[in-house]
Point group: C2
Chain length 328, copies 2
């Protein structure tokens, strides 16, 4: 019983899905749906391939009211650089939520993951950052450092961005790219403490296993989005910082407990806040977000299956003619 | 950095992959690899969609020495019959084991799963059934009842097959299909006890939640393959039967404990045999299989990611020109 399946390549997806406010709204709606309940989101399936210096993650989520659900596979093979290939790859498969049949295969090589991850940062900034952000700081110098800064700029059009990384050369390259893409002042800075001191919005985008942001650097009127930790051995934020903030908000509590900043804070006994709020609950107003301009807020993003389902469903609904149709 | 991705449809796959001895050998090699160690096979990712009367399973496995690994998604949506669609669907995605990039998308709508599942039954029969099987019995009347009988016939060319199901009409239809496909005598039988008594090889292929095969029916010179249970609420074999058999062999112990016949036997305290053998260990000779013509053997098949990786890798290696190439 053959049916039409839409196959869309990375190049085609880059042409139709951008990191813009439309995409931010799509991801915001996904988090809101998560808070409204009825979402089915199993734990991430992970496979560590030590022999290949690789890892594989699969995520999925069913969202009530959505016509489709995605299953996304991300691969990270860290020997690829030597072959001149990107480390991160993958695809998304979209299934009918009514019949379970494959509707689309998005051969994005990780592009949609990059976009939906950055868009979640914008959603966090929209709901938690101070209304006025003049200076944003980024700790980390990879692709997400660039995309997170661009995403945050969509909702908080700061006029200056600071970049810190262990490798100052990479920090300068990242700052130069952001100066160009955002048309604002951008500087690489040596000292992360001063980066935080000068910023109203800080994004950490590193694979750090030891904190890169100390609790004593927190200051009134600061929002921090920690998006680097997505594994049970990563940690970007000083565990003492979470309870020191006025609001600490998870993308998904169950994931942050095992893969995010909350893991270390719980393990060290430094988290004393009970069950944290989730980003979706802040969006829907079920839980408070920022309570005052001077508040300190932290959001912890581990990456959720609802983001994948939301962006993949959006692609199919908005671009039904894109790509190649294969009858299978 | 676009690369070529092979897209193969169900119709194309049906033309190139058959349930034959080649496929049985491919699946046997997968189980042998599992026993040799170094396989990485995370727990199955499962999503129950009660509202849609549906379920989604994802399986994957990395096998050392294989150029690729598959991630397979199976969907079962039990309202599809009303829409005139098959309940079971899905696809397999093949990734490079060296770079993690997508190499092929096998849009099989579950066909390869059907074949690799049946082939595992043939592997179990090859290594555990008596050398001579004159009569085989099948309890269950669905697609796997037919495929399992056909697969077992490849390795034990029995001359008569008996079929039992709760619905005698379906049992007669299944027997008629098998008479045609195997060119042997086939009968539907009302009484499962007499089916077992007359058979040297019995295959259970039901979604039963209560045993369909009783321990007291076991007789010398019998092999039973229980392939129906793949969920923590299913149970086909009387839990007392497992310890009564001379050999009880799992496809994967960790899966049979939670999803197979071993689950109920452990829960009822009726399993007293310690850690069971795995099928791969019997294939490689690490553990004994059938010890004598009169022995009673049971194999418990829950379905493993190595089977998916093996069949998908086989397709790509043997049929590199099949399907459509998409540059993505």
């Amino acid at each position: 019983m053959a049916h039409d399946i839409q196959i869309i390549t990375e190049a085609e997806l880059r042409g139709i899905v951008k990191l813009d406010l439309t995409t931010v709204d799509v991801i915001e709606a996904a988090f809101a749906a998560l808070a409204r309940g009825g979402v089915v989101m199993p734990p991430i399936m992970s496979m560590e391939l030590e022999a290949m210096h690789g890892e594989v993650d699969a995520k999925t989520a069913f969202i009530p009211g959505f016509d489709s659900f995605a299953l996304k596979v991300s691969t990270g093979f860290y020997g690829n650089a030597k072959l001149g290939l990107p480390s991160l790859n993958g695809l998304m498969v979209l299934f009918s939520a009514k019949t379970g049949r494959v509707e689309a295969v998005l051969l994005d090589n990780g592009y949609l993951t990059d976009v939906r991850t950055a868009a979640a940062g914008a959603v966090a900034a929209r709901h938690l950052a101070p209304e006025v952000v003049e200076t944003a700081g980024v700790i980390g110098t990879g692709l997400q450092a660039r995309l997170q800064a661009e995403a945050a700029h969509l909702v908080r059009p700061f006029t200056r961005v600071l970049v810190h990384g262990r490798d100052m050369e990479k920090a300068r390259a990242c700052a130069a790219d952001l100066a160009r893409s955002l048309g604002i002042g951008a500087e690489a800075v040596d000292d992360p403490a001063s980066l935080v001191a000068e910023s109203q919005l800080v994004i950490t985008t590193t694979p750090a296993r030891e904190p890169v942001l100390k609790a004593e650097w927190l200051h009134p009127g600061l929002h921090v989005t920690a998006m680097g930790s997505d594994a049970d051995y990563k940690n970007e934020i000083d565990p003492a910082a979470l309870s020191r903030a006025d609001s600490y908000v998870c993308d998904r509590v169950s994931q942050c407990e095992s893969l995010g900043e909350l893991r270390t804070a719980l393990a060290t006994g430094l988290w004393t806040g009970g069950t944290p709020a989730e980003l979706g609950e802040v969006i829907t107003g079920q839980k408070p977000g920022r309570r005052s301009p001077d508040a300190i807020t932290i959001s912890d993003l581990t990456g959720t299956g609802v983001q994948d389902t939301a962006i993949a469903t959006h692609v199919r609904a908005r671009f039904p003619k894109a790509g190649t149709i294969i009858r299978a």
